[in-house]
């Protein structure tokens, strides 16, 4: 029940972000799907006690892989599919928490939270890059094999 609820809300939230970012109309449902799958992966990994940073990295990697295959299938730029999918992972809530602790003069927890925000957004970016690099490597290897 809990998982179903998370699925539905993450689907709607990602599709709604598609509208805010003015995605093409025929891509909205796919945006929602990418977001839902990424978020599902993330909450499952966290539920199995995987480190949050690693879970973020893997989920971002997963989103980028789906985004790339959608991009190839529908001949649209990948950013359309990955942007809305990435949004739920972004540690906006934690960034807000950090800011709030700063305002309340609780600097030590604020700095801790900020470091965590930095790590998490770094993990998301690394996940994205990783999928791109592996995609490039795969293509290079394949063209090398065909050339040989």
């Amino acid at each position: 029940m809990h998982v179903l609820q998370q699925c539905i809300t993450s689907f709607i939230a990602s599709a709604a972000f598609g509208i805010i970012f003015n995605c093409p109309k025929n891509a909205l449902v796919k945006c929602g799907l990418v977001g839902m799958m990424g978020w599902l992966m993330y909450i499952l990994l966290v539920a199995f006690n995987v480190n949050v940073v690693l879970a973020n990295l893997l989920a971002a990697f997963f989103i980028a892989v789906i985004g790339q295959s959608f991009a190839r299938m529908y001949k649209m730029p990948m950013i359309i599919f990955s942007v809305a999918g990435i949004i739920p992972l972004v540690p906006g809530g934690m960034a807000y928490d950090a800011m709030r602790h700063f305002v309340q003069n609780d600097y030590s927890s604020a700095v801790q939270l900020s470091a965590k925000v930095f790590l998490l957004s770094g993990a998301i970016a690394v996940g994205l890059i990783l999928s791109e690099v592996s995609n490039q490597m795969y293509r290079k290897l394949r063209s090398l094999k065909q050339g040989a």
């Binding site: 599709a15 709604a16 003015n22 730029p77 305002v103």
Partner: protein, 250 residues
């Protein structure tokens, strides 16, 4: 000779127009550079050089006369335009479009309005806020308050951004609205967890795309773009935090 330099001029104009639209619509730096080089390669054999920053583009074709520069002062996210320009650039690469046709099509894309009306966007921002509240383990009781706060906050952002050219200040005022609403709603017993409501409804304003794009640009070697996008993201996050903090202080 003169005819040729006329043609070079037109090629550069098409490339710059495509780059300008993409950069303003929030495409990644590498995609802007890639698209411009591809368009140039389709019309001319010589190699081209382009330098893209979030605030401007410099473009020239090797061994020819004009090098042009355009200034980009405002960026937003409009993925429809990114997709459209991408489509045109594909057609140019496959030789389906002449220089003139490409220019006209790009001009049409530049002028196009947003696909969704302002009400649709505000409505989706408010629904997204409610959904984020649930995703961040909030209770259904707070769903409506988060929708209200998120929707009004986003509406405020759009409205103030029209009034004030300074993006930073519009974001500050928008998050101030969210903060005041969240504090007020919980104070009058219409919402339970103020933190969750604020986190959910702030999400449409959070520069998540900018943060990840910034780090991505940095890693890909686009150092200038990465740093300046990072600075922009930091400013936005700071504005949001300040707005919320202000609301607490009131």
């Amino acid at each position: 000779m003169k005819e040729q330099s006329q043609r070079i001029n037109e090629i550069i104009d098409v490339c710059l127009l495509a780059g300008d639209i993409m950069l303003k619509s929030g495409a990644e730096t590498y995609r802007v550079e890639d698209t411009m080089t591809r368009i140039a390669a389709a019309f001319d054999d010589r190699a081209s050089q382009c330098f893209v920053m979030p605030t401007g583009i410099i473009f020239s074709i090797d061994g020819t006369d004009p090098t042009k520069l355009i200034r980009v002062s405002e960026r937003s996210t409009d993925l429809q335009k990114v997709a459209d320009v991408n489509h045109v650039s594909r057609k140019i690469s496959s030789g389906e479009l002449s220089l003139k046709e490409a220019y006209l099509q790009l001009k049409a894309i530049e002028k196009a309005e947003l696909t969704y009306s302002i009400w649709q966007r505000i409505l989706s921002a408010s629904i997204a806020s409610g959904c984020f509240l649930i995703m961040f383990k909030g209770g259904w009781f707070d769903f409506l308050p988060a929708c209200v706060a998120g929707g009004l906050g986003f509406a405020g952002l759009v409205y103030f951004h029209r009034l004030i050219q300074l993006k930073f200040f519009a974001e500050f005022l928008a998050s101030l609205i969210i903060g005041v609403l969240a504090v007020g709603l919980t104070h009058f017993g219409l919402g339970h967890e103020m933190d969750k409501i604020i986190i959910g409804s702030v999400m449409p304003l959070v520069p998540g795309l900018l943060i990840t794009n910034a780090i991505r640009d940095l890693m890909a070697g686009h150092l200038v773009s990465g740093l300046s996008k990072g600075a922009e993201a930091f400013l936005t996050a700071f504005a949001i935090g300040m707005g919320i903090a202000f609301a607490f202080a009131l």
